[in-house]
Symmetry: C2
Subunit: 398 residues, 2 copies
């Protein structure tokens, strides 16, 4: 199936990454080139914009606007966490028909793959010709069948540096604030938390503990690691995923939720706060806890050059895939060489991606002193982009 | 008084900045050059190291080590918040005498100026010849008689970008997490919080409210600004200094302290958390709050090129000042041109600096919609270093 007439609709979905607008720019740029007769629309707030018919025409963006767009954090078309309901299908197909949209590109993660597939099926059932090609995007790195996902490298760069920095700070401050817990994102996988180990070379270096969602969290093991580092080195750094779970459930979830939204979703006290209180009670010293939150997925200075470029090329490639008639697919990143890092772009079936979660594999998981493996660092290194100055020459003055 | 024999002691004090090691490197480098016969010692954990006699010899650092040092966050000699006690003077002078130390350089802020002066007086009373030359260092920018202090530009760069990023993120996420509060450092002054306004060009842009310690915080005014932005633009960002105060005292301080340290200092729930709860209760939508904490003063990628260079030159200059016989002084930064930014290094008397706090002047203070003045942005711009790509070309796709 190759559809040479008709128009293109682009949407962004899920949590933001600092390079998802780079992918959007790549899509628009190559759409202008390979589909010169088509209009390019942008759905506002993802699938919600399609359902509501809010899809402005963005065909005429200039090269300089696209260049600026490619460097902007956030999601220029706005994002969405809406799960498609049966009642949404009718209005959605109406919008597609009304604008003769024949290609739908969703820049998103695992949930978006499910949605993309559902839209594709609905169109087929309705005998409406539509190509659905998603584009990978997540700081969590939890999409299967790709070496990594655009967004991860930049967020990982942020977390690796943040850990290094707060480590040096806590070490310097000593008794005034010797212990610090860094709470990081990553949803159900520990890819992002594991990146905190990148600059750790010795037992002395931060982090001294990494908690990931894949491993049942033990307060006792955590306390042993932190107390040991504090006693031996005068400071201690723990990095924990915001979704770590103890054997009894999520940490601090014995308390009532701090907020319940209109959908009935509960929001609980963060594990960083909970563990900080625990450390202060047990060790009697001040324990900071830092929560960069959405800063870690939107910080311009920490964008990985590799990540931004790959995100852009993924956008371009998706248009080529459409042009070649592919459907229900998602481009993937293939690492063709790690000696001198090289990548190519392949593809996977949306069916094989939807609903799957790529957890941090055993061989990459941190031990209880905050080390990951050389193989993980080797995996991570090229994704972080241009080297941060002089980190190879780090030495201990004292 | 010019002391041509004798040795040099360097210490770092107070909260870390990402460029205080650059100042240290400048000191060591020029100390090696201008005092080739002298030993250079480093006091571990500031004044505490002098009292305890822990002052390793760091004369022989190589150029490549100094280059690496100049780019490291934290305080390589470790820092201190110790306030000098009468009983400390004896041991302190003993250490100075034992190592024939005739020049003391403290890289620090307002508290360090008080300490430096006290040491100088004690030496004089004891008829011990000693030159005391402090070096300015603070992300808070609250040292008087200098255009700005090394450390501020880099932390301000971090906060300005963090605000821009979380703004774009909240705007994109919409109803899922439309409101975010960013809690920033700055001690008793609003310089750092004010930097969050750097990228704000329109009412739509973040931040929509800035709370600084110099202005009594009103929950009602805060809520009006945030609710108005949320209703009009679908999202809202507030930036608040961690030490904002309401008319009744510090926010959230009605609750008992979350921790009390061995010195009896109380640590309270943060204002970000308090205000986040308030927003959720009043508006019924999720309100994130982010606390970069020590990340904002230690993040390598966000170091301002201007800031690092000035920090280094301040270090070099202090050695020249010693060589020329000055005493009880601190080098200051003078802005000689703002058209094309140029600076020179002057000096101030420690007596005029000690115990003073430089608050954010009226003309630079944010209004209740999160705007500061053009004059403040003009002040801030050169301090942020190399421009962040393309921010001048920012446009709204929607």
């Amino acid at each position: 199936m190759t559809i040479s007439s008709g128009n293109i609709l682009l949407v962004q979905s899920g949590g933001c990454t600092p390079v998802m607008n780079s992918t959007l720019a790549g899509l628009i740029k190559n759409g202008q080139t390979l589909y010169p007769q088509s209009r390019i629309y942008g759905g506002i707030h993802g699938i919600e914009g399609i359902i509501d018919g809010k899809i402005p025409d963005i065909t005429e963006l200039s090269n300089s606007q696209l260049k600026s767009l490619s460097k902007m954090p956030g999601a220029a078309l706005r994002s969405s966490r809406h799960k498609l309901l049966p009642n949404d299908i009718g209005p959605l197909l109406n919008t597609l028909r009304a604008h003769d949209i024949r290609i739908l590109h969703t820049i998103g993660g695992n949930d978006s793959a499910v949605t993309g597939l559902r839209v594709s099926e609905a169109a087929q059932e309705d005998k409406y010709e539509l190509q659905v090609i998603n584009l990978p995007k997540t700081i969590d790195n939890d999409i299967v069948l790709t070496d990594h996902s655009p967004g991860y490298g930049s967020a990982a760069r942020f977390i690796s540096q943040a850990t290094f920095g707060i480590g040096k700070d806590a070490e310097a401050m000593g008794i005034n604030s010797p212990i610090c817990i860094l709470e990081v994102m990553g949803r159900d996988s520990g890819w992002l938390a594991a990146a905190s180990s990148f600059y750790k070379k010795t037992d002395h270096d931060a982090p001294h503990f990494i908690g990931i969602p894949e491993v049942i969290f033990s307060e006792e093991h955590f306390m042993i690691s932190i107390e040991s580092a504090y006693r031996n080195y005068g400071y201690a750094i723990a990095v924990v995923s915001e979704k770590i779970r103890s054997a009894e459930g999520n940490l601090g979830r014995d308390n009532p939720p701090t907020f319940t939204d209109n959908f009935g979703h509960n929001y609980f006290e963060s594990p960083g706060k909970y563990l900080s209180d625990l450390v202060e009670k047990r060790l009697g010293v001040r324990c900071r806890w830092e929560k960069p939150g959405t800063i870690q997925r939107s910080f311009m200075d920490a964008v990985s050059t590799t990540d931004r470029e790959e995100a852009y090329q993924i956008g371009r490639k998706a248009v080529e895939m459409a042009r070649s008639g592919m459907n229900d697919v998602i481009p993937t990143l293939i690492r063709s060489s790690n000696q001198k890092y090289e990548y190519s772009i392949g593809s996977a079936s949306l069916k094989d991606v939807a609903g799957e979660i790529r957890y941090l594999p055993e061989k990459y998981r941190p031990d209880e002193q905050g080390y990951t493996s050389d193989s993980f660092k080797s995996y991570l290194r090229p994704l972080l982009g241009n080297p941060i100055h002089d980190t190879d020459s780090i030495f201990h003055l004292l």
